[in-house]
Amino acid sequence: MTKLDKTTMKLILSLIASCIAANVVATTPICPPSLTNSINISNGTNHYEGAILNYAVVPSSPSDANNGILCGRLEVLNNDGSWVAIGMSRNYNMFGSEAIIGLPIDTLSADGATKQNTVMKYKLGGYTVGYEVGGWGVYYMAEEKQTLTNTSLVLEETENGDELMIMSFTKVSKRCFVCQKSKIQ
């Protein structure tokens, strides 16, 4: 094979690779290494210094694939290793809301086993824990609704010696109609 042939071959291979890359039709969205968007929860209705929600919205790929995700990392400073939660509400009320809760010690599972550092989805159907009153209260969503991935709950120490509880999760974001127009990827 001559040198010209090699150059030609490289060009052809390069073109083929470009074509393949341009025609990829389905990739599984993944969270970016750094969640650059953040919400300072200190601006909430109750002033609290030390909670931040970092997040990224990763649209479906391709746009009609229904496989978008919401990547989240909740950081809470100096909470003495206690549980943390971020919830979605229709009306500011806890009752009727849904939440992602990170439990350093989880004693709620049906099999009675104690688990550590769980991050799961919950229904907030009351102000008590679990199923005491016929399924009301704060309780796990059904198993088929436990769709969070890449979950973790860790207690880290900051450079200043403070404790930082970090709850990470990836939540299904089934549809995104603006994927092709989104500014974020």
Binding site: N46, N79, A85, I86, F95, G96, D106, L108, W136, R175
Partner: protein, 355 residues
């Protein structure tokens, strides 16, 4: 606009206010949160470009969020086919609250229906106008007494801790076990838009339920079902063990005319003692007659309204417009007035009610 959707869950909108809650506990195990539990809002419009209106309106029907899926094949109405426990709530609306019956119904539809319909053992959640615009009526049915009671408590909780606090107050609440329920062979459709009649009766102190009460109610049901448009008829009695006993009885017809017709048939039969002691009652505690505003069944798939600000649920749900409600209520009020008059007369001559 809908950006972050997971089936059956609260939608996070791409533009508009999203409400988030934050809490941190006081221990590693789930329990009370610390004082700094808080809420905050976020509009994602900064991150995601606004989608044009056509894209939102062209969402395929089969992709629209469904908060409620059927969990039973045929609607359980009570014995003999199924166990059923029903709790009812007749609320008074404070005249100074600025809320009307539709507003109250909408609040429950948005905030309470998604919770109660998703619970295990759920059978039914119904709301109806009452013939009196200053009251609203709701009922839940579950397959156990515990769950039904929990629903009752949760409904009170929903009011005490939400926007309806000081807007509505209890008028008449009941917690009952269904004695017997009759209806079409297999009900799989919501009765929204149909006509619901309910009665809460109080028996005499020391009332003993007759051994043949099921047979008598079966006879009544046979007559009830002769009227065109009857969908169901059921009878329940208190599950709380209080004395004197109270009964909750209700029926659904496709139209108000059907309900009126059965009253005209049954009232004279009850008055002449055809049905014995089961209709010898001390007091009519409460009565409602009106169109069903929403009706979620375990047997009937229903898309609950998405709680988006500014969305007019009534348009989507095809509930009556305020003018229609007003007209209906005026007519119903007259009807209830007539019924009350008849019942009062019957009471004076012997305390007998037909159903």
């Amino acid at each position: 606009m809908k950006l972050l959707i997971e089936d059956d869950e609260i939608i996070i909108k791409e533009n508009g206010t999203n409400v988030f809650l934050f809490a941190s506990g006081t221990s590693p195990e789930l329990g009370p949160h610390a004082d700094y539990g808080t809420s905050f809002t976020k509009d994602f419009i900064d991150e995601v470009e606004k989608v044009i209106e056509e894209e939102d309106t062209n969402i395929p029907t089969d992709q629209q969020p469904t908060i409620f899926e059927p969990t039973c094949d045929c609607q359980p109405l009570g014995p003999p086919d199924a166990e059923s426990f029903v709790v009812t709530r007749l609320w008074d609306i404070s005249p100074s609250s600025g809320f009307n019956d539709q507003d109250v119904i909408d609040e429950f539809n948005k905030g309470f229906a998604p919770i109660v319909t998703a619970l295990p053992g759920f059978q039914r959640y119904t709301a109806s106008y009452t013939g009196n615009a200053s009251t609203v009526f709701f009922m839940n049915a579950f397959d156990t007494q515990e769950l039904a009671h929990a629903a009752q408590e949760a409904a009170k909780d929903f009011v005490a801790n939400g926007v309806l606090k000081n807007v509505i107050t209890p008028n008449t609440f009941t917690e009952d076990e269904v004695i017997i329920g009759f209806g079409d062979e297999c009900i799989t459709e919501s009765s929204k838009g149909h006509y619901l009649s309910t009665r809460v009766f109080e028996h005499e102190e020391g009332y003993v339920r007759p051994d043949n009460e099921i047979e008598i109610f079966t006879d009544i049901a046979d007559i009830v079902r002769t009227v065109e448009g009857n969908i169901m008829y059921a009878v329940s009695t208190t599950s709380l063990g209080e004395s004197p006993q109270t009964d909750f009885r209700w029926d659904i017809y496709e139209t108000r005319e059907g309900s009126d017709k059965i009253s005209s048939i049954m009232t004279p039969l009850a008055a002449n003692g055809t049905f014995g002691d089961i209709n010898a009652l001390k007091k009519l505690v409460a009565v409602t007659e009106g169109e069903i505003a929403f009706d979620y069944l375990c047997a009937s798939p229903a898309n609950l309204p998405v709680a988006e600000s500014g969305e007019d649920v009534r348009v989507n749900e095809k509930l009556p417009l305020p003018e229609e409600v007003t007209t209906s209520n005026v007519a119903s009020s007259l009807n209830v007035h007539i019924i009350y008059s008849v019942l009062i007369c019957i009471t004076l001559v012997g305390g007998v009610y037909w159903r």
